[in-house]
């Protein structure tokens, strides 16, 4: 079985922070929910960025959905198949209303407005956010914002989910709700998180980023 997404011997360094990834390997197979743990600044977000081509590795290669991905044009397809949930929901929700934000991805995938609207309403309903479509994005609560960003990613029907600290700043109730939603999703996931309880509920395999390498825990 080939991996859905694979990073092979990738290295990345920042001018100020120095080497954060040093020939790291990571593979994600269908049906897996991998945790990616590690201290602050270990390069967890950087690794996810490399996987969808937001940063380019200094060395090593990225394979995704059966092909090696090298240049920006390759990654456009990857981004459409690998839904990336950002750490801060405010970075992701930029449209005035919830519906427009959720429909943004499907429209970019070439859906007609009517299709995109139908998909969006469907996804919102699945995540228990029906009735939120006319709400103004910046007036939502933290937990609502998180679920709307998840909806906006799910609306693109991704095969893989990359979640960057999804439970960040959520209260207990919102966190339980998020766990429930994520458990019900069939997609393979990489989950960055610092919370043991959150990961115990979700992860099928646990990895840790340390010294620039991904280690199995």
């Amino acid at each position: 079985m080939t991996a859905l997404i694979r990073a092979e011997q990738v290295s990345y360094s920042y001018p100020q922070r120095g080497m954060v990834l040093d020939q790291a390997d990571l593979s994600l197979y269908a049906g897996e929910k991998i945790s990616l743990e590690g201290s602050n600044g270990a390069g967890k977000t950087t690794l996810l960025n490399l996987l969808v081509g937001l940063n380019k590795p200094k060395a090593g290669s990225i394979y995704a959905f059966g092909k090696q991905r090298m240049v920006e044009a390759d990654f456009i397809e990857v981004r459409s198949k690998a839904g990336f949930l950002f750490q801060d929901p405010d970075d992701q929700l930029f449209c005035p209303t919830v519906l427009e934000d959720v429909a943004f991805g499907p429209m970019n995938q070439g859906k007609t407005p009517i299709e995109a609207k139908a998909i969006s309403l469907d996804v919102l309903d699945c995540l228990g956010m029906a009735g939120f479509e006319e709400r103004v994005t910046h007036q939502l609560s933290g937990g609502e914002k998180r679920l709307v960003t998840l909806a906006s990613v799910m609306a693109m029907k991704p095969e893989v989910l990359l979640l960057d600290e999804p439970s960040n700043a959520l209260d207990k109730e919102a966190r339980l709700r998020l766990i429930e939603v994520l458990q019900s999703l069939p997609q393979a996931m990489i989950i960055i998180s610092h919370e043991p309880s959150f990961l115990e509920a979700l992860a099928t395999r646990r990895t840790r980023l340390e010294g620039g390498k991904v280690l199995d825990v």
């Binding site: 405010d90 970075d91 992701q92 005035p96 519906l99 943004f104 429209m107 970019n108 007036q139 906006s152």
Partner: protein, 262 residues
């Protein structure tokens, strides 16, 4: 209750909207924008005094039918009138014409005085009409309506992004300000204060820049390729056409009344 234009600034105290749904809210946003625009042009270019006065009466009608919050509206109009007042004081002395009276040997001209009054009437009429017709729109609705009126897409996006992130940036500002206070910062007129404010503003700019990069990355992740898509539920109705007819009649009447003759 709908969230109105000023609602994006709820963080500034006293801006919270308690706006009752009014007659004006029943009109299509596009009709309201066009009406406000035509009204402004008609009033601003007039060369007589009676037309701006008529305009002011009309603007009052708009304001009444929009059931504007009196206190808040007054505060805004007065803020603008401070500038107008300064101009009324200055203009009679800077324009040539028949002298009305003298102050310290400077002549105040009748023409200047009339001119100043005309400007005051025009400014108040236009601001009042804008507050009543456009100011009661929710900001995102305003963006959508402008897009529908073929305003360049880039400008509309700029407006929508501003509305979206104004609140985020102001929250960031306030949290940093709180963090400063928590470490016993009290603004004084000294170098330390000014430097700290400099850092604050600088940090705000840096954070905004970084945030904009993250937003762009998030948009790319969802396949952004230079286009935003807007959904809306505006529907043009007979009363919107009526509103346009009324404002057109007003414009035609203004033109034929000779208000623009030199």
């Amino acid at each position: 209750m709908p969230q109105f234009l000023e609602h994006s600034m709820t963080s500034w105290r006293g801006q919270e909207v308690e706006h009752q749904l009014s007659i004006v809210d029943q009109f299509d946003p596009r009709a309201r924008i066009i009406t406000a625009l035509v009204f402004a042009i008609v009033v601003v270019f007039s060369k007589t005094l009676w037309l701006p006065f008529l305009g002011l009466l009309l603007a009052f009608t708009f304001a009444l039918s929009a059931s504007l919050h009196i206190k808040r509206t007054l505060r805004r109009v007065i803020a603008m009138d401070m500038f107008v007042l300064l101009m009324i004081i200055m203009l009679p002395f800077t324009m040539d014409g028949t002298a009305l009276f003298h102050v310290f040997g400077f002549a105040a001209s009748q023409e200047g005085f009339i001119h100043a009054i005309a400007i005051a009437l025009k400014a108040n009429a236009v601001v009042l009409a804008l507050l009543a017709l456009v100011g009661t729109l929710e900001a995102s609705v305003l963006g959508h309506a402008l897009a529908k009126l073929y305003v360049p897409e880039k400008l509309v996006h700029l407006l929508l992004f501003t509305v979206r992130y104004l609140d985020v940036i102001s929250r960031e500002y306030k949290s940093m300000r709180k963090a400063m206070k928590a470490r016993a910062f009290v603004p004084r007129n000294n170098l330390h204060t000014w430097r700290s404010y400099g850092y604050l503003i600088g940090m705000l700019l840096v954070r905004s820049l970084e945030r904009s990069e993250r937003i762009y990355a998030a948009m790319k992740c969802r396949g952004y390729c230079g286009k935003l898509y807007l959904f809306d539920t505006m529907s043009w109705q007979v009363r919107d056409t009526c509103l346009l007819v009324i404002i057109t009649v007003f414009a035609v009447f203004a033109i034929f009344s000779g208000a623009y003759a030199a």
